[in-house]
């Protein structure tokens, strides 16, 4: 278990996190980061679809299906990316940005 964690660490050329913490960061990024990202994508996509004139139920379903496809890919990417901090930044940060964007889009909607 720790073997792979360390291997990833050396590949990243990083000093930084001890293996156990590193593993925790990877797993939480894959579980919560990826879900947050998918959430943002589904919310933003739904708002965008509604703005583009889709029926609300259609926009919700389309964006949710799209978000579902990205979810396992995002989760695996959290393990593949050399630096776990980058993984967290993209998934967590991206998810937060998308959610914020969906709120903005929701406010601009009539």
């Amino acid at each position: 278990m720790m073997k792979t964690g360390r291997r990833l660490e050396t590949r990243a050329g990083g000093r930084s996190l001890p293996p156990r913490l590193h593993t925790t960061a990877r797993v939480t990024a894959a579980v919560f980061g990826a879900y947050g990202f998918a959430w943002g994508l589904a919310a933003f996509g739904a708002e965008l679809g509604a703005l583009a004139g889709m029926a609300p139920a259609e926009a919700v379903t389309a964006s949710s299906l799209l978000a579902l496809v990205t979810l396992p890919a995002a989760a695996l990417w959290a393990f593949a990316v050399p630096r776990v901090a980058v993984g967290w930044a993209v998934l967590g940060g991206g998810g937060t940005l998308l959610i914020a964007a969906s709120h903005l889009a929701g406010m601009s909607a009539p």
Partner: protein, 523 residues
């Protein structure tokens, strides 16, 4: 192409995928095994229900038009037993379920029952059966409150998807190894081959079934869009997406219009097909609503095309076809449900679902054999826990299922809460096998003993069905009772295979660690 592909899947990427693949499998393998196994059983839920509810084996009925007003409404009144009925629904008979199933909600408590097509109420079935136990266990683990079960099952399903994708990346030489199965070689090697073979051969099905499984409950487990556009009101979303209709009780009593013309009108709107379920909401009220669902046996989509009528006037209230995206969602859901009439496909769903169990099981076994090298002859607590978990979720799950089916044939009809006693038998025997596995796992889990138990229980089920109902396989074949015959034959086959496996496991030498260590490592 090859060069690009090699770059796409670098050795680093493959190495990085190994960790999540391994640990998702080790931690969630047991849960996924339960989901895949119960899902496979759910394909034949109707047939298992006939086996577990002998009173409903009324033989093939001509599924002609059942008169709701003459055959159904009197049964509802009988079930209500004088209490004022609030809502009720009836599942109309079909090819696989020759009886009508009722649920009635009255002012004081609920009632359920099963009746023949001519409106004769059958004695209580006294079991949840496959339709109300194995099947809900598959999708919700019976944890209904707050959709907790959906969340857990969907979390495991996303992990399954990630496991399938990472498995493909790890195993990049997919087509070369496609034809590789070295059963004569090392035990660990053949485990890996079997893992890869099922993983590759059934990959399209596994991807499809896992993703469509999540798709069905997607608005519940990923409610971001519902939150954004419907203020988090799931009911309003479903009303909108699926063309549902509801209105509150008015409190003013009113007589009901006849139901048969409504069903006829629904059929006209569908342009064919059969009614599957008829719901009556706010029965006997001025705001009464009748809903007629279409049988999905003649198409893939799970779109039941609900038609809503005013219960008092019989006027059409709502019939709305879904938009293209929601229609796509319904088709994806239908692919998972496999409710369409197609026997070869049903068997393929069943077998491919079991192949998923093989995939998960061989993955766990491979991990155990590989770790054994590191641990030596005295494995540690972690290894033993995983070994016990693997045993409890494979042979243990089979034992629990078969014990419940045996209890179904053994428990007397009249005992109180009979269906809950059966459920108790299921969970107690399951816990029992897990404890047995945990206690007896030293160098290996007690595979052979549990396989023998599976064999004995499966054989006992066939015999018990014979004794208690008089319907042995030959008679079932003569009576063209394919449901009971099919269940009996699968039970007999299970008994045979489990017995052979048990005998072979007894003869198997304990693994020689020196040769195990020599086997080249994977990835």
């Amino acid at each position: 192409m090859t060069a690009r592909k090699r770059k796409l899947i670098s050795p680093e990427l493959r190495a990085a995928m190994l960790w999540p693949h391994t640990w998702a499998g080790v931690t969630l393998g047991g849960l996924l095994m339960l989901i895949f196994f119960m899902g496979s059983l759910a394909v034949f839920a109707s047939e298992i229900d006939r086996w577990m509810m002998p009173d409903t084996r009324v033989g093939a009925v001509e599924v002609g038009p059942v008169s709701l007003d003459h055959a159904v409404v009197p049964v509802v009144e009988k079930l209500a037993a004088g209490r004022a009925v609030r809502d009720w629904f009836v599942q109309l008979p079909d090819e696989r379920r020759p009886v009508m199933a009722f649920r009635v909600r009255t002012e004081s408590g609920n009632a359920a029952g099963v009746a023949t097509t001519d409106g004769t109420l059958l004695p209580p079935v006294g079991t949840l059966g496959a339709g109300s136990f194995f099947y809900p266990l598959h999708y919700s683990l019976l944890l209904k409150a707050g959709f907790v079960g959906y969340w857990i099952v969907c979390f495991a399903s996303v992990a399954m998807l990630a496991g399938l994708i990472s498995g493909v990346i790890i195993h990049a030489r997919i087509f070369k190894d496609f034809f590789t199965f070295r059963s004569w070689g090392q035990f660990r090697r053949s485990l890996l081959d079997l893992h890869n073979l099922t993983g590759v051969l059934v990959l399209p099905f596994h991807l499809m079934i896992t993703i469509t499984g999540i798709v069905i409950v997607l608005p519940i487990v990923l409610p971001a869009g519902v939150q954004a556009l419907y203020g988090g009101n799931l009911l309003r979303f479903y009303d909108d997406a699926l063309g549902n209709y509801s209105r509150p009780r008015s409190g003013i009593a009113a007589p009901m219009a006849p139901l048969d013309p409504m069903v006829a009108e629904a059929k006209r709107l569908w342009g064919g097909g059969e009614a599957a379920v008829v719901f009556v909401y706010n029965a006997g009220d001025a705001a009464s609503v009748v809903r007629v669902n279409r049988d999905t046996g003649d198409h893939i989509s799970l779109d039941v095309q609900p038609v809503f009528f005013d219960g008092v006037t019989g006027a059409l209230l709502k019939y709305q076809s879904p938009g293209p995206v929601v229609a796509t969602h319904r088709v994806l859901s239908g692919l998972h449900f496999a409710a369409f009439e197609h026997w070869p496909l049903r068997w393929l769903y069943f077998l491919f679902g079991l192949a998923g169990c093989v995939l998960i099981g061989t993955g766990m076994l491979y991990w155990m054999e590989k770790r054994r090298v590191a641990h030596g002859r005295k494995p540690g607590m972690g290894w033993r826990s995983v070994a016990a978990l693997a045993c409890g979720s494979t042979t243990g799950l089979l034992i629990a299922t078969l014990a419940m089916m045996a209890a179904n044939r053994l428990l007397p009809a009249g005992i109180p809460s009979r269906e809950l006693v059966e459920v108790g038998v299921f969970f107690l025997s399951w816990i029992g096998t897990a404890i047995h596995a945990a206690v007896r796992t030293r160098t290996d889990p007690p595979w052979s003993v549990q396989c023998a138990a599976v064999a004995l229980l499966a054989a006992a089920c066939v015999v018990l069905n014979w004794i208690t109902t008089g319907e042995h396989p030959v008679r079932a074949a003569a009576a063209a009772d394919w449901a009971v015959l099919g269940v009996d034959l699968v039970l007999a086959l299970t008994a045979y295979v489990a017995w052979r496996a048990s005998r072979r496991l007894v003869r198997r030498d304990s693994p020689d660690l020196s040769t195990l260590a020599k086997v080249t490592d994977h990835a």
